[in-house]
Symmetry: C3
Subunit: 269 residues, 3 copies
Amino acid sequence: MGIVTLLTDFGLRDEYVGVMKGVILSVDPNAVIVDITHEIPPQDVRSAAYLLPAYPSFFPAGTVHVAVVDPGVGSERAILAVKWRGRYFLAPDNGLLTFILDGVPEAIVRVENREYFLHPVSRTFHGRDIFAPVAARLSAGLPIENLGPCVPAGNAARLKIAKARRSPGGGVTGAVVSVDRFGNLITNIDAGRLDAVYRGSGMEAAALEICGRRIEGLNLSYEKAAEGDPLLIVGSRGCLEIAVCGGDAAKVFGAGPGTRVRLLPPDRS
Amino acid sequence: MGIVTLLTDFGLRDEYVGVMKGVILSVDPNAVIVDITHEIPPQDVRSAAYLLPAYPSFFPAGTVHVAVVDPGVGSERAILAVKWRGRYFLAPDNGLLTFILDGVPEAIVRVENREYFLHPVSRTFHGRDIFAPVAARLSAGLPIENLGPCVPAGNAARLKIAKARRSPGGGVTGAVVSVDRFGNLITNIDAGRLDAVYRGSGMEAAALEICGRRIEGLNLSYEKAAEGDPLLIVGSRGCLEIAVCGGDAAKVFGAGPGTRVRLLPPDRS
Amino acid sequence: MGIVTLLTDFGLRDEYVGVMKGVILSVDPNAVIVDITHEIPPQDVRSAAYLLPAYPSFFPAGTVHVAVVDPGVGSERAILAVKWRGRYFLAPDNGLLTFILDGVPEAIVRVENREYFLHPVSRTFHGRDIFAPVAARLSAGLPIENLGPCVPAGNAARLKIAKARRSPGGGVTGAVVSVDRFGNLITNIDAGRLDAVYRGSGMEAAALEICGRRIEGLNLSYEKAAEGDPLLIVGSRGCLEIAVCGGDAAKVFGAGPGTRVRLLPPDRS
């Protein structure tokens, strides 16, 4: 019994997701299909790339993670199958796999073996004609090598990712990379970097600037004394987040993906 | 094969629901997971509390119903496991279980046994670290008593619920408590109370006032002579609803949760 | 192991879809339930009718396709069970099945056998009381004839469907019938008709007028030279679509269901 997860920009209004599930179940009637989200903004490869590393480790080894945000469908762009930490990934070679590729995968294969496709293969809906049937084959146990030739990691498409970096005064300059449903602002500053800055001084010295405002201290949970207070917290993705107790930080700060943040050094006074 | 249902305010944009499903399937690969809704407004415990009793009786005995609307995640609030009419419930002890607790549960347990949690337990995402793995254990057959110590019903948190009440003239004063997708206004006046008021006079004597307007007679279905007519009906939750034939009663009346309604006595003329 | 798909206008905010799934799993614990969509606009039978033929062929034979958009619930309207190309369909007899009925079904049955219903049968939620339990019985192997008497195809309700038609000068006059999540405008002009018009001249002669603008040439994929360019393509439903590269054609053209389109004859110059 294999699990297939789906991440797309198809939305839930149309038949597209249902059609993919029909194809998967036609190939592997025992597949268990789990929706991650279909609400990626249309053709927003970058949003999907940031979301992709956030869930696979919570699924059993062998799970097949399909991600289809694919403005180049029908063009010459390749489709990649990747094995990483015992999980499988299927996605167009358009940068969607950026963070997975950074993780040094066990195998990267160009999906070319048309024997596993649904025919005739359209040039408008590879989710149905290639991703779904190939995912079902993988989940049913097909070796990834059967899908096509190996590809060197360096040949796969990657997005340019703005990384958080040490600033001259000892702090860190980063950015908001995602906003979740609650309006929490998820940054690219991970817990390790946070530790590095405040090791020795303690987390009460933590302070971050965003949109001209300063938030001080690191919280351990979303609860804080007063509703409406902004707070810093290490969120469920392991990165620093800006939240507002009982509120929506994205609205309060007028912030979103790309907004710069600055972690201040402990000895700033 | 156990069933786990999910009711949350997580929305469908982020990875949170998918992560919970991954954890459940990692613990119990045979679990069948059913989404009730993830569109509870963020942190709106009251909306979730009203929705929670509306579906469990339609699932088989043994089903585990998980409800996570949890503004106090990471604080000292407890998590409760409840057995009621052969079904299991997992929710934070914040009032979400109000109507279930009113139903005189067979067992109420404080979820404390960390053996069944996902480690390390975060203080920001108990849906992933506690609710999901514990639900999977219950659905796989773990006795509820293994989760922690029993709690007296009187110690569990309850919301203050405005109940419909008999008014001096013989009618009933109540309120809208939910609005569904069609704009139907669901009140806290149940079918038993309706019967009590009009027993003897017949349902053609029924009349309700809302927002300064009066609706007369009780309908048996949403169909009525003219499109746009408001109508009274006993809805699928067993309570009196105000609907508009082919329309949206919430918009027509400008009404929503909290709007007062008055059921008029039969001898009002 | 049977598959049941669901197409409704119930939305995802309320408990209605979850309740249907609970009833299905209570009757057939092995049923695999697949959501097609629950975002049909409330009571929009026409939208559902257009969507219904778009996915069943991608599911295995034996799948039960349930469609509930049912403004007449509780009235005298019938419920039909249809067998078509080895798949089963359950829907109210209100025109929702129009395109399936056009496909010459193997069997059409009026669902009347109350033995398979959930009792008491309400007059407000047949999705729960009739569609769900009957679907589960069909998916578990009940012969369709057991549900009730056969109905001649001519007696079933059909919507008036505007068909594309040959125009006097040799072109085709049609209309937009659906808009998908990406803003692609799906017309009622199918690939066969397109072939008929341009056979001999080649697809580079294709041209379509919509909202006073002309789009020339037929694309094979959504990719085209310049972002923002409108393009013609045969979409995943096998019909002519108007798309905008990297954009939203519905917004660009201000078009939607009902917008007329004109396919121009090849010798128009």
